[in-house]
């Protein structure tokens, strides 16, 4: 880079970081103030989100950290290598603008924003990550490592099979994960031992247990707003996992109390909405906030950024390395409902199961423009839902605030139409 370019880069970086803070503040304010009846236990999660936006995540032990580009990276291995996994998939409009210049015009906002984060060096921690692990789930994401942009952080491509049901695919993925283990040991300089990995699996399982409890609590009544639930899952990567878990446990206890207290039998019924499709990641909570403002209640979501993140479990038969690593790889493959897999009947089965368990009245399907996999799968999901007589609203959107007016009209109409049929 020559001097001029350097200056321009610094300006872009500073501007994007500044905008990210403002953007996040606005969203948090909207979440905390425009809705009444906030839950005290949410404070912690709002705080963590704020720290994330400001690039001030806590890392008191000064651990090395690894950036993950998708939730399919087995984080237990990263913890076992004594490093921190930080997810860098970004939901920031400012970052998507910073990244858009480097990518083809039809790229999806999430990919633009992620590249923007890396390019402008707007990581949520002060240091840079040791490496960026990108699973080959999304076609656009996996190509990020090859974009000529002068990024000096090494990328690691974690190979994922295009299918998950066949024996060949499972074997392929298992070997990928095994290779990643070796690679992590090399990058961090720490050996992943049997006891360290066991500890890491159990640590994540504690979080999963609390998260599953949270999930169950939402089944019967809308004890918490869906927007808050999405934010809680979003913050999972942004703090010490044990701290995060203990706060979720307390929140669960609070919700449990609310559940018994608020149950008076005469509550007015809000349309119960299931949200699915391209993931809403903080601060891009445009659509969920819109739905809840319009009187819908998001009771569940099928997003990789929230419900899918911590739901699936690790089952180890023999606590030795030879069985723990395959158990881990199974957890990240077999039950996954990412549209990158073909066939992916499990996704429609999961959505139908959620509709039944959470007594869903309508589905909102979000697709980011350019996110081909979710766009393609929407056809099938909408056909399945039509057969089941569940209304679905398909929304194609991106991170820009431009379509807010149009979105408001459409979500309002959708929710009103459900209300009329309740």
């Amino acid at each position: 880079m020559n001097k001029n370019e350097n200056k321009r880069y610094e300006r872009l970086s500073a501007k994007s970081k500044g905008q990210l803070i403002i953007e996040s503040e606005n969203v948090l304010q909207e979440m905390q103030q425009k809705f009444e009846n906030t839950i005290p236990g949410m404070e912690y999660f709002y705080d963590v989100a704020k720290q994330y936006a400001g690039g001030q995540l806590k890392n008191p032990e000064r651990k090395k950290y690894i950036a993950t580009n998708c939730i399919q990276v087995p984080i237990e291995l990263i913890y076992a290598a004594n490093a921190l996994p930080i997810r860098i998939c970004s939901g920031a409009y400012s970052m998507s603008q910073a990244g858009a210049g480097l990518l083809p015009a039809k790229s999806c906002s999430l990919v633009n924003a992620t590249l923007g984060t890396i390019y402008t060096n707007s990581f949520p921690l002060a240091q840079k990550p040791l490496t960026i692990i990108t699973p080959t789930t999304c076609d656009q994401k996996k190509k990020l490592s090859e974009i000529p942009s002068g990024i000096d952080i090494p990328f690691y491509t974690l190979e994922m099979p295009p299918s998950k049901d066949s024996e060949e695919a499972q074997e392929y993925w298992y070997r990928s994960v095994k290779k990643l283990k070796g690679e992590l040991e090399r990058i961090t300089g720490n050996r992943i031992t049997r006891s360290k990995l066991k500890k890491a699996i159990i640590k994540v399982a504690q979080a999963q247990r609390a998260f599953r409890h949270f999930h169950q609590l939402r089944k019967e009544e809308a004890v918490i707003r869906g927007t808050d639930a999405i934010l809680i899952a979003n913050t999972f990567f942004y703090d010490n996992i044990d701290t995060w878990t203990s706060h979720l446990v307390s929140l669960n206890a609070e919700l449990e109390m609310r559940k018994s207290r608020d149950h008076n039998g005469s509550e007015s019924r809000y349309p119960r909405i299931l949200l699915t499709g391209s993931p809403s990641i903080f601060p891009n909570l445009k659509l969920p906030i819109m739905i809840e403002k319009m009187g819908g209640s998001i009771v569940a979501d099928e997003f990789c950024s929230s419900n899918r993140l911590l739901y699936d479990t690790v089952a180890v038969d023999e606590w030795n390395m030879y069985d723990m690593v395959p158990a881990l790889s199974d957890r990240y493959l077999k039950a996954c409902t990412c549209p990158c897999f073909t066939p992916n009947n499990d996704r429609e089965r999961k959505i139908l199961a959620y509709i039944k368990d959470f007594k869903v009245d309508g589905v909102v399907y979000q697709s980011f423009s350019g996110c081909q996999l979710y766009e393609l799968e929407s056809l099938r999901i909408s056909a399945v839902l039509e057969k089941e007589n569940v209304p679905m609203l398909y929304v194609e959107t991106d991170y820009s605030p431009d379509d807010k007016g149009q979105l408001a009209t459409r979500t309002e109409a959708f929710i009103e139409s459900i209300k009329n049929n309740l």
Binding site: A253, D312, A315, D330
Partner: protein, 322 residues
């Protein structure tokens, strides 16, 4: 676990307490072990099949049917849980597996296709063990009568014949019989199978069960049993946990979401799958129609990961903070 050891003690040492439990017991309670309290049904069935056609369709046939009936009756009650909880050979294999686990040596994996072929062997053995004794008294397809040294042919190669007496300190079965060619071949086969049993079960959990003709015979009656392993496919996320922990590698338990009866030919009803299932009410054991043991989310975390529940209680400091 405790039950398994008690059953092992009973079936191996029961004779010391003069317990006798009959000849139709579906087990490797092996009469070659002199202190054994009963007789493996496989030996009875082989003896009973050693008859001419004429007598099989007459009085002897009735005896055959009666013992078959008592065998089936037991099955109607406990189904293949026999294999998982009672069979002494199964218990020995579980011990060998524990030893391997302690040593930190990996178990071996097979690909689906070869595994499928391997599993078919037990049906071949089952047919042979009925066919050979019949052939000793009757000429089948015009073949000459088989030598009487082939009596109870499966027992001659069954590892139970050699192993179970060892537990009472009897090594008399550990030999090769040089009387004639037939006995020599059969007894050497017996020793070879024994070696395969020990080595195989060290590297593959429940290795011998894949070849066990008793298991094949059980499976024929399994559908009528009162004890059933049931799956509710609607609650299944296909996470594969159940298949992961399955000692006999039954894939259908994880992948089949349409059928509800889940006892397959290799299943030994050990119910590890239920322990590993994190979904509420997805897998269950029922006796008649009463559920005995169900999969639950909480159960998954406490049984498999031994998570202490302390961690899941809100800590006071955090609540006070807010």
């Amino acid at each position: 676990m405790v039950f398994q050891i008690l059953a092992f003690l009973l079936l191996i040492y029961g004779g010391y307490l003069s317990i006798h439990i009959g000849t139709s017991i579906p087990t490797f309670a092996c009469p070659y072990n002199q202190e054994c309290p009963g007789t493996c049904y496989l030996i009875s069935v082989q003896h009973q099949a050693h008859n001419t056609w004429a007598s099989l369709f007459g009085f002897r046939g009735k005896a055959f049917l009666i013992s078959l009936l008592s065998f089936v009756l037991l099955f109607i009650v406990i189904n293949k849980a026999w294999c998982g909880y009672v069979c002494p050979l199964g218990t020995i294999q579980d011990w060998i597996t524990k030893l391997r686990n302690r040593m930190g040596i990996s178990f071996s994996r097979y690909d689906d296709l070869s595994f499928k072929r391997l599993k078919a062997i037990k049906y071949v053995l089952l047919v042979l063990l009925l066919f050979i004794p019949l052939g000793m008294s009757n000429s089948i397809f015009g073949l000459p009568l088989f030598s009487h040294d082939l009596g109870a042919p499966f027992c001659q190669i069954c590892p139970g014949r050699v192993i179970t007496p060892l537990f009472i300190g009897d090594t008399s079965q550990l030999f090769i019989d040089f009387t004639n060619t037939t006995t020599m071949i059969m007894s050497s086969l017996g020793i070879i199978v024994l070696a395969m049993f020990l080595i195989g079960s060290f590297f593959k959990k429940r290795f011998f069960c894949f070849f066990c003709p008793m298991s094949a015979l059980h499976y024929l009656f399994s559908r009528f049993s009162m004890l059933r392993l049931i799956k509710n496919g609607d609650n299944c996320t296909k996470c594969g946990n159940c298949y992961r922990v399955c000692d006999v590698g039954i894939k259908a338990i994880a992948e089949d979401i349409e059928h509800s009866y889940m006892v397959k030919d290799d299943c030994m009803m050990c119910f590890k799958c239920i322990e590993a299932c994190p979904e509420n009410d997805c897998l269950k054991v029922s006796f008649l129609t009463m559920p005995v043991f169900k999969s639950t989310e909480e159960g998954f975390f406490s049984r498999n990961l031994h998570l202490n529940s302390e961690m899941q209680k809100p800590s006071k400091t955090i609540i006070e903070d807010e």
